[in-house]
């Protein structure tokens, strides 16, 4: 954000202020959530929370494309990665299917807000063409898959880097836990909309999590492994680009 131009900063802060303002004035009693399954107020609120991230992401990406144009190929790859990963329904141990999120890779390479932009593109594609997720629940799904998951992935990756833990292991945990976290947030979002009569929001969240978590854990492990594979491929073939992004240090390898 240091080298953003003034109009860019203005736009971003305008969106941020708008979002904070709207978020505060409403009383929030409050994997992909299905179309029409969240009350209107929730839809709007989640959407509003996502706006600053999307604005930040668009401007960040614009800057990366101008300042480090050579890294665009990696951006295209991490976007395509989300496309592939989130289109594959994988059978899981519980006897039901789910899919992975794939947003961890772009979060650790390009930062959280860039991952949000890529995630939104995929979510719109699925909401419009596949009736998977939905336009009314776009905000909520964006928050869980393209903001919360990437944030956790990014933090874990940074932590691992600071502690000098092996990069493959760090990437694995960042992607896998980011994936799980997405579904934790989805459960919470559904619980906020449907608090149970007996136990309230927490009981309800536990109930949703009870359905999502067992299905998702093996898939999260898979997502971690696949992300490590892709990062290995990039380290092998795209070292100059990774260096430009600051993903690998100058002295390494």
């Amino acid at each position: 954000m240091k080298n953003w131009t003034k109009p860019e900063k203005t736009v971003y802060f305008a969106v941020l202020t708008f979002s904070v303002f709207l978020g505060l004035t409403e009383d929030v009693s409050a994997m992909h959530i299905m179309e029409g399954y969240l009350p209107l107020v929730h839809c709007i609120l989640w959407g509003v929370i996502c706006l600053p991230f999307a604005a930040h992401g668009f401007i960040t990406l614009k800057h990366i494309s101008i300042e480090k144009p050579q890294t665009m190929i990696l951006l295209a790859m991490s976007g395509a990665f989300i496309f592939v990963i989130s289109s594959l329904k994988i059978p899981s141990v519980t006897g039901s299917c789910s899919h992975m999120t794939g947003t961890g890779l772009s979060a650790i390479l390009f930062g959280v807000s860039s991952a949000s932009v890529l995630g939104i593109i995929v979510l719109i594609f699925q909401a419009v063409l596949l009736a998977h997720g939905g336009l009314t629940t776009l905000g909520a799904n964006t928050f869980s898959m393209a903001i919360a998951g990437p944030i956790l992935a990014f933090l874990i990756y940074r932590l691992g880097q600071k502690r000098n833990i092996n990069r493959k292991i760090t990437v694995f945990f960042a992607a896998a836990l980011g994936d799980i976290f997405t579904y934790c947030i989805t459960s919470l979002q559904l619980a906020l909309a449907y608090p149970s009569n007996e136990g309230g929001i927490i009981f309800s969240a536990g109930k949703f999590l009870g359905v999502f978590a067992p299905t998702q854990i093996p898939l999260a492990v898979m997502e971690g492994l696949i992300t490590v594979l892709v990062v290995m491929g990039m380290e092998n073939f795209a070292l100059p680009e990774l260096r430009a992004l600051g993903f690998v240090g100058k002295e390494e390898l």
Binding site: M77, G95, S96, L190, K207, V211, T215, L229, G233
Partner: protein
């Protein structure tokens, strides 16, 4: 390099294992989507819940998206992604091969 190849092989094998084991271990399971399972819980908490908004496409074609067409769209999505990734890795691999390691 060689060590990397072994790691990559092991990781790929693990991924396939995790994906395929449930299919063989749980014979006769339905493998419905867990997103749908979510809406079933909503119903158990709220009674009969009517979604207040139907997907745009379903409104346009006046019914649910046929299963085969849905899998077509999923394949299109996978195809677009795989195309871009394969192109990029091909490009990068060829660059490394023909330029040598001096630019790395």
């Amino acid at each position: 390099m060689c060590k990397n190849k072994v790691t990559a092989f092991i990781l790929t094998a693990l991924v396939l294992l995790i994906a395929l084991v449930p299919l063989f271990a749980l014979k006769g399971a339905e493998f419905g989507g867990s997103d749908d399972a979510g809406s079933q819980i909503v119903e158990s908490i709220q009674g009969n819940y009517e979604p207040w908004f139907t997907p745009v496409l379903e409104t346009l074609i006046g019914g649910e998206l046929p299963g085969e067409i849905e899998s077509l769209f999923f394949c299109v999505q996978t195809g677009i992604g795989v195309g871009i990734i394969a192109y990029s890795f091909g490009y990068l691999a060829a660059r490394k091969k023909y330029k040598g390691d001096n630019q790395v």
